[in-house]
């Protein structure tokens, strides 16, 4: 009797495995996953981010010691990192070599809501390579500056979400879909030259605790891309601040 139950349990599990593999083989591109995933931080519990303290209006800033106005926590480390880089090995102006990012095809709707936030900090002026770290987190002002320079934007969210609206010109690079390694390989082929690998790339997902953009940045860092920026607040922030949005399957 017990032996029979073990056989039945094994049969249920084996049938489940077989059906899962067959279903995955016939699944559409955006519903398919590779059988063996590569997620280096799968066992690492993320540290919980505490919201920045709200400034109290009654506390006056010591004028004698303050030389710069306070910025948000998102922007501050970026500014520090990028401005302390020793040399710039790639000029931002040459980023437009990528034809896919130069002129996004107008096959879907493009919207721009003119509601910029008043408290946007000034953009960082230099975006130098940072080979010692996979990515640098940046805020809206920096992202906007890079977008204006036709830098390559990668959308790490699911393709179905990308099609509902994405930063104009961004390509879909969902880390959860099975073709991500092919796409990364293709990008490497496009930018196999070391100078091209030093060109800035901006990656974003949904902001908040979304880690997809960080995971994609890790992948790109692993193949020598050393000038990757993660838009920490992601697409919701871009949309709220009136950035150029495009819908549909094309960039």
């Amino acid at each position: 009797m017990k032996r029979n139950i073990f056989f039945q349990i094994a049969a249920l599990v084996v049938a489940g495995i077989l059906l899962a593999i067959v279903a995955n083989a016939f699944a559409s591109r955006d519903r398919k996953v590779s059988l063996v995933g590569t997620y280096p931080n799968a066992l690492k519990v993320p540290a919980r981010e505490t919201p920045p303290p709200i400034a109290t209006p009654v506390a006056p800033a010591p004028v004698a010691t303050m030389t710069q106005p306070a910025t948000t926590t998102t922007i501050a480390p970026v500014t520090a990192t990028t401005t302390t880089q020793p040399t710039a090995t790639a000029a931002i102006e040459t980023v437009g070599i990528n034809p896919a990012t130069k002129k996004p095809p107008v096959t879907a709707t493009t919207t721009t809501a003119p509601t910029p936030h008043a408290q946007s900090p000034a953009p960082t002026t230099e975006f130098n390579p940072h080979p010692d770290k996979p990515y640098v987190e940046i805020g809206f002002a920096d992202v906007k500056a890079l977008h204006a320079k036709n830098v390559l934007f990668l959308d790490a969210r699911r393709t179905s979400v990308y099609e509902q609206g994405h930063i104009a010109g961004a390509r879909t690079y969902s880390v959860w879909e099975s073709d991500i390694d092919d796409k990364v390989r293709k990008l490497f082929d496009e930018r196999s030259d070391p100078s091209a690998q030093a060109l800035p790339i901006v990656i974003y997902c949904s902001g908040g605790d979304c880690e997809d953009s960080h995971m994609l940045a890790q992948k790109l860092w692993g193949i020598q891309f050393n000038n990757v920026y993660v838009y920490k607040d992601g697409f919701p922030d871009w949309q709220t601040r009136g950035g150029q949005v495009h819908t549909g399957a094309n960039p």
Binding site: I5, A11, L12, V45
Partner: protein, 158 residues
């Protein structure tokens, strides 16, 4: 009370309800394995190389076990599998509650609903109680089956 809890009337209803719950829970996961893989990743308990395989296989095992309960075939195996899965879910959610890692359960819905940390923690506690309730249902099925096997056959049956 004991008689009611192990009665065929209750047992068949519990069996059908548990089977239906697992079939319903399996469908969204089967429809979108990448999103379910993301949910499993968020638990931070499964090695990276096994996440996608778990996301593919688990919903199918849930579906088959649920269907077996509904159809009344391989009932003992199906309830054992379901009991095991529920125990795994309860332990996994409890570990994340203990380390304050707020996650979406991914039990019946694999879409990210943009909840706050506090909302997620509250939902995780609810999920643990819900899974414990379902584990009680498995216990009822096991107890009723045990009593049925232990009882001497009735005169009518002879």
């Amino acid at each position: 009370m004991k008689r009611f809890l192990t009665s065929p009337w209750l047992t068949i209803r519990v069996q059908l309800a548990l089977g239906a719950i697992f079939v319903i829970a399996a469908i969204p996961k089967m429809a979108d394995p990448p999103s379910f893989a993301h949910m499993i990743y968020n638990y931070r308990l499964v090695p990276g190389s096994l996440i996608n395989l778990s996301a593919l296989v688990m919903p199918w095992v849930e579906l088959l076990a649920g269907l077996a309960l509904i159809l009344g075939v391989w009932k003992a195996a199906a309830r054992t599998v379901i009991g095991f899965l529920l125990a795994v879910f309860i332990i996994a959610i409890s570990i994340n509650l203990a380390r304050d890692n707020a996650i979406d359960c991914g039990c019946f819905n694999v879409a990210d609903r943009g909840k706050t940390h506090e909302q997620r923690i509250f939902d995780m506690k609810v999920d643990v109680f819900r899974d414990l309730g379902m584990l009680l249902m498995v216990g009822q099925l096991w107890w009723a089956e045990k009593r049925r096997l232990d009882e001497p056959p009735s005169v009518d049956a002879i």
